[in-house]
């Protein structure tokens, strides 16, 4: 019996460790296998740019892992396959094999694969804090030569830099996300409401709706990063565009504007601005409240825009009701209405230990360019490469947002992306606690500072 209990109790922890244990032995194999293969292919690729496909006619396979499953991200899934298909005509000897995982599973898998040095040749990464350990562990290849060469000036300024570490860029951004507040025009019209210009306007809207028993804002606080949006915007509007970046960079979190933002957050909670029980709802559940018109407003990244414009599964009747507004300003605050919270989403990396590194680099370069051409029209994804809105035909909501992006004054990178993993996790939990009113604004700041100072 004792033995059985012991066996059972260790099942869970052994799971992760078995993976890690296997990794130890594969580590060597991976390296041994990589080095002899890499050396012949690399010079061949560099010496002759154009006829590379003829010169290195030897068939090679590049493994690619991405996070757009057919079920939940059909348009991205199709677009990836389309680009891979197109690449065949450019490099017929290269076969691209894909593995697709859902977002959270992808994050787990990439860290496990990385620990055993078995990363796919090409894959997706997030910026800043996520990327840092991979660069430190020498897992990603620097891509500066591409950015100086064929990709020069293709990106919205500042976006590749979010993927840099120690002066080198390790990822090519595919998406640029900003966070507008979507609202239901019909609910607003029925209650004689206009999109708010200032925080006080927003409070009036909240009060009006709340008094009538309509949920003003839907929020999926179980996924704590959605709560963080609200805090980041308030902090930005009170303290200006540099405040959060500087706080993270200097490991301090005691600016008066940060405290004001925390207090304003709890004020909104006290007004019943957010849906009942939001800290127990996932983002998907919260989203459903907006889609079923049970809630009037919803702050979410621009990755949601296709659901309100191009997605054929969403009824046109609902799409017509969705508008967006920019986060309102606060009186006396330093942040402007054209400052956005957002950040590049995922970007492509090339594995440092890939046996076909040069081929992989060529593929990612091709990929980001094609992605830039197609993504906004085909998949509704705003690319980090520049988009000329005069040349494309899209629903108005989309065009308006793209134009806003061109007018954007500055971008505050998502805090949980900026911070190191432990601090980021702490930030999200604290945001949950602040909005759940289980922590005071003062303690909220103090604990942030502690987490940042710990440097993990």
């Amino acid at each position: 019996m004792k033995k059985k209990a012991l066996t059972a109790s260790t099942m869970l922890l052994s799971l992760s460790l078995v993976l890690a244990a296997c990794g130890g032995s594969n580590n060597n194999n991976g390296n041994n296998g990589a080095s002899p293969a890499a050396s012949p292919s690399a010079p061949a690729a560099e010496s002759s740019e154009a006829p590379a496909s003829e010169a290195s006619g030897e068939p090679i396979t590049l493994n690619m892992m991405h996070l757009w499953p057919e079920g939940s991200s059909l348009q991205q899934f199709k677009l990836v396959n389309q680009i891979i298909e197109e690449y065949k005509s450019v490099a017929p000897n290269v076969t691209i094999k894909t593995e697709v995982l859902e977002n959270e599973q992808y994050k787990d898998k990439i860290s496990v694969l990385s620990s055993s040095n078995e990363l796919p040749d090409v894959g997706l990464t997030w910026a800043a804090g996520f990327l840092e350990p991979y660069v430190k562990g020498n897992r990603f290849a620097p891509l500066d030569d591409l950015l100086q060469g064929e990709l020069k000036d293709k990106f919205v300024p500042g976006t590749p830099e979010a993927y840099s570490s120690g002066g080198k860029v390790y990822g090519l951004p595919l998406e640029l996300n900003i966070v507008p507040i979507y609202y239901n025009k019909e609910i607003f019209a029925n209650n004689n409401l206009q999109p708010p210009q200032t925080l006080d306007d927003l409070k009036n809207i909240i009060k009006t709706l709340s008094d009538k028993g309509i949920t003003p804002i839907t929020l999926g606080g179980k996924d704590a990063w959605t709560v963080s949006f609200w805090y980041m915007y308030l902090a930005e509007r009170f303290g200006g565009t540099e405040l959060l970046d500087q706080s993270v960079a200097n490991n301090t979190f005691n600016d008066p504007a940060l405290l004001e933002a925390a207090k304003a957050s709890q004020e909104l909670v006290d007004m019943n601005a957010f849906i009942k029980g939001f800290n127990g709802l996932s983002n998907d559940e919260a989203k459903a409240e907006f889609a079923s018109e049970q809630a009037a407003m919803y702050a979410m990244g621009t990755w949601e825009v296709p659901n309100y414009t191009t997605n054929p599964d969403v009824p046109q009747e609902f799409k017509d009701k969705v508008g967006f507004f920019k986060f309102p300003t606060v009186t006396g605050g330093k942040g402007g209405v054209n400052d956005w919270v957002g950040g590049p989403g995922v970007g492509l990396y090339v594995s440092e230990s890939s046996p076909h590194k040069e081929e992989a680099k060529k593929f990612v370069s091709f990929f980001v360019q094609k992605w830039g051409e197609h993504s906004v029209v085909d998949a509704g994804v705003i690319p980090a490469t520049k988009v000329d809105t005069s040349k494309i035909n899209l629903p108005p909501l989309f065009i308006e947002l793209l134009n806003e992006l061109n007018n954007a004054n500055n971008l505050t990178l998502f805090l949980d992306v900026q911070m190191k993993p432990v601090a980021a996790d702490e930030h999200k939990k604290l945001a949950q606690a602040l909005y759940g009113k289980s922590i005071s604004p003062e303690d909220f700041l103090k604990k942030h500072e502690e987490a940042l100072k710990a440097g993990k």
């Binding site: 260790t10 179980k222 993993p421 939990k429 289980s438």
Partner: protein, 310 residues
């Protein structure tokens, strides 16, 4: 060796030949080897490795760094960890107490009441569902505005219904209930089988001597299945201490750690915060706690002589 093997194919089929084979130490080792290797590889080696990783600082990507017992001293000072230990212990106590309820249900079911057969199957159904399905089901039940639980509470006239998974004060209890529900059938079946095993003659003799049903249950049946009860207590306690899946799906340990248990804390440390060294230290600690709990329960419930049916 070859000679010994040929004995196996001996058509004689007498136990004598079998004994001869089994007395050969080489053969015994050969038979034990596959399962021994398997157990070593998937259980004991990882345990040792967990202990080893617990001494490291490691983000799963950069090279490991030896830091001695720092992870453990940090563990002792980590308030969030002790909160999760407290939650796990509360849950272990609740699971153990609920065994009394399961036992009562099993007693009733084994008493040949009408429909016992059907009820037994009904109780077992949650066991057949996967944890994730159960979690999804209860997420719907607990939904603050459209869930049937709050719908019912509103229908009977309660205003300000609780936000079950959002309120730090209730969330822990809200996630325990589905877990207890999930395992109820399991324990009921174990008790039912044990009770059915009691010879009817004993109960009959007691009844002739004038014992009431309650007396039969407490004085005859309970002592006779005490060995089984001991086993279920260990299962319930250890199972609760290492419980993970439903909590992970329903709340992820949130909000702000209000429903964090040891296993979810370990997972979050390793996979969310990317501190595999620290996560391993938590895992090792969890193992030690489970061993101590098992040992403690065996000590507490030790009886001098076991009662047997005779």
């Amino acid at each position: 060796m070859a000679a010994s093997f040929s004995c196996l194919y001996d058509r004689g089929g007498n136990t004598h030949a079998m004994e001869k084979v089994m007395s050969n130490k080489g053969i015994i080792a050969l038979y034990v080897l596959p399962s021994l290797l398997l157990i070593l590889a998937v259980i004991y080696v990882p345990i040792v490795l967990t202990g080893y990783y617990g001494l490291m600082e490691w983000d799963a990507v950069s090279p490991m760094q030896y830091i001695g017992l720092d992870n453990y001293s940090r563990l002792i000072e980590d308030g969030a960890f002790w909160a999760s230990v407290r939650h796990s212990l509360v849950f272990a106590v609740m699971s153990t107490l609920s065994l009394a309820l399961y036992l009562a249900v099993a007693m009733i079911l084994s008493g040949n009441i009408r429909g016992a057969n059907l009820l037994r199957k009904v109780y077992l159904i949650p066991m057949l569902l996967s944890s994730v399905a159960i979690a999804q089901l209860w997420l719907k039940i607990y939904h603050p505005t459209t869930g049937i639980l709050n719908g019912f509470l509103e229908w009977i006239g309660i205003e300000n219904t609780p936000a079950w998974l959002s309120d730090p004060k209730v969330v822990l209890w809200a996630v325990f209930i589905p877990i207890l529900w999930q395992y109820a059938g399991f324990y009921i079946i174990i008790y039912y089988a044990a009770l059915k095993n009691i010879p009817g003659t004993l109960v009959e003799a007691a009844r002739i001597d004038g014992a009431t049903s309650v007396q039969i249950a407490l004085r005859i049946k309970l002592p006779l299945i005490f060995e089984v009860i001991k086993v279920t207590i260990v299962l319930a306690v250890v199972g609760s201490l290492k419980y993970f899946d439903l909590i992970y799906v329903m709340t992820g340990g949130g909000p702000n750690g209000a429903s964090e248990v040891m296993a979810s804390f370990m997972y979050n440390a390793a996979f969310d915060r990317k501190e595999f060294g620290y996560g391993s230290a938590v895992g090792f600690f969890l193992l030690v706690i489970c061993l101590i709990a098992t040992w403690g329960i065996r000590r507490l419930t030790a009886t001098k002589d076991t009662i047997e049916y005779s």
